[in-house]
């Protein structure tokens, strides 16, 4: 009976998290287009519904009803698989993000996280390194020069910045003394880690933006030279899956920044889950703002920033944190 109840609770949590993630992904697209419009002194989508609020619905109908084409010379199996890899890994990363303290229901403590594994942080990295395959294989399988270049650029960029991403979080693990995201949030009940680790925060934010392949790090897509890069040849809902993957990834990064640096669900007055949501949306808005402000980096600038600035800075930061802790 307890096992059955446990499964019921788990499925309820899964349904809520999945629903919120996908709903927010759809409306982040709307927010991005409206906010970017404002930044560039134009209106953005405002025809479908009040303030264009039904635009995501219209987009979804369009994507689902469009023909799902596969190029004649493409590697069919991998071509069909790649978008799913991107979307699934992005969605799965949210499984270890805590969205509140335990609540007690009928004598049972229900943890407000889908899975509190003791290697939560490494789980996120494992999925993020698997997510690269979606980009690299999607680009290769399309059998188009633009896509292949986009895929190669994506793979190179993501493995370069994954290093800085991982190293920037070592001081956080040292401070929290745990890989579990729940413990990391609990360690910030008094002050968020952004105060103790500002260097770490900057490195993580930059690498996270590079991992999500958004402007100024959007070389794998680079519309004006590669024409959308690794997803040039995709249409319909498979293109939609890449899109969902990108916007879910934005939310996951927002959630991770909230968990590692902004104190997770901690906050006064409002319920914990609402605080986490506010922090996620705040990070997403900053990312959109950056997109509206900066031009794209050149390839050598991208690699130099990753290997010659972020990685050494992260290593020095680990050393300094270690010395200060001992």
């Amino acid at each position: 009976m307890t096992v059955l109840l446990g499964f019921l609770v788990l499925f309820a949590k899964l349904a809520v998290v999945l629903g919120v993630l996908l709903f927010l992904a759809a409306y982040l697209v709307w927010v991005e287009r409206r906010f970017l419009g404002r930044l560039q002194v134009r209106l953005g989508p405002n025809r479908v519904g009040l303030f264009g609020l039904l635009q995501p619905l219209a987009d979804a109908i369009k994507l689902i009803t469009k023909e799902d084409t596969v190029p004649a010379e493409a590697d069919r199996f991998i071509f069909l698989l790649a978008p799913a890899v991107v979307a699934v890994t992005a969605l799965l990363m949210f499984a270890v993000v805590p969205f509140g303290p335990d609540i007690t229901l009928g004598g049972h403590a229900i943890p407000m996280v889908i899975s509190d594994i003791n290697i939560g942080l490494l789980f996120v990295f494992a999925l993020s390194s698997l997510g690269i395959y979606g980009v690299a294989l999607g680009g290769w399988a399309s059998n188009s020069k633009f896509s292949l270049l986009g895929g190669i650029r994506g793979a190179a960029q993501m493995i370069s910045y994954e290093l800085a991403l991982g190293l920037s979080l070592v001081p956080i693990v040292m401070l929290a003394r745990s890989f579990s995201l729940v413990d990391i949030v609990n360690a910030q009940s008094r002050i968020p880690f952004i105060v103790a680790q500002p260097v770490s925060f900057v490195i993580f934010l930059l690498s996270a933006m590079a991992e999500s392949k958004r402007i100024p790090f959007d070389l794998p897509e680079a519309e004006n030279e590669l024409g959308a890069g690794f997803h040039t040849e995709y249409s319909g809902m498979r293109f939609g899956l890449f899109f969902i993957g990108e916007y879910v990834h934005m939310q996951v990064l927002g959630a991770l920044i909230a968990v590692f640096f902004l104190g997770g669900w901690h906050g006064p007055f409002l319920p914990p889950a609402v605080w986490l949501l506010i922090k996620i949306i705040l990070v997403a808005l900053v990312m959109i703002w950056v997109r509206g402000t900066l031009p794209r980096l050149r390839y050598d600038q991208l690699m130099a920033l990753g290997w010659k600035v972020l990685v050494p800075a992260a290593l020095v930061n680990i050393l300094v944190t270690g010395v200060l802790l001992v």
Binding site: D75, F77, I78, I117, N118, I119, L122, F123, F125, A126, S129, L130, I132, Y133, A136, L137, G139, W140, A141, N143, L148, G151, I152, A155, A156, I159, E162, R177, F179
Partner: protein
């Protein structure tokens, strides 16, 4: 316990099938994909045996970083050339001999160890416990491996530098 056994054999079957497919594919990208599935299966096996930390490292390092580098190189090759990239069948004979030897030694080691008869209990090692075990009991091996990696790093740097210096020298000579 039964559930763990079923999962173990399912995962083992998945790993063996994926590895077999990876070895026999003529298309190198397909081979890489199957090898990634195989590594992923091994990671799940580690998790099942109570080592979540190792499972995560297996995915991050092998399935993530190493195989992406393989894929990176393969994607640089021309798609049409895949058939010619394969080794001649004669070269698989030494590989088969080595594999059989490894299988034999492995079987002898496993069956001679009394610990292999004991039923496996579901357990999970904390990363902290795992870390202190590794660095307290096997510190010498860790140091040796780190030194080896350092040598590899210096070697890679030297080769990269040497190439760069030679290119500069050739360009300078041509200019003269």
């Amino acid at each position: 316990m039964l559930l763990y056994t079923i999962l173990f054999y399912l995962l083992s079957a998945l790993i063996l099938a994926a590895t077999g497919l990876a070895v026999t594919r003529r298309n190198l990208v397909h081979a890489v994909v199957y090898l990634v599935i195989s590594f992923f299966g091994s990671a799940m096996l580690f998790y099942l045996l109570g080592a979540p930390f190792l499972a995560a490292l297996e995915v991050i390092i092998y399935a993530g970083a190493v195989m992406i580098l393989f894929l990176f190189i393969i994607m640089m090759l021309r798609v049409a050339d895949f058939e010619e990239q394969m080794f001649p069948p004669g070269q698989s004979i030494p590989a088969a001999i080595l594999a059989l030897g490894y299988l034999g030694i492995g079987a002898v080691l496993i069956f001679s160890d009394p610990g292999s008869r004991a039923p496996l209990l579901p357990a999970a090692a904390e990363p902290r416990v795992f870390g202190s075990y590794l660095f307290v009991k096997h510190w010498l091996a860790i140091e040796v491996v780190s030194l080896l990696l350092l040598v590899a790093l210096v070697g890679a740097l030297y080769i990269g530098r040497a190439n760069k210096a030679r290119t500069v020298a050739t360009v300078n000579k041509e200019n003269v």
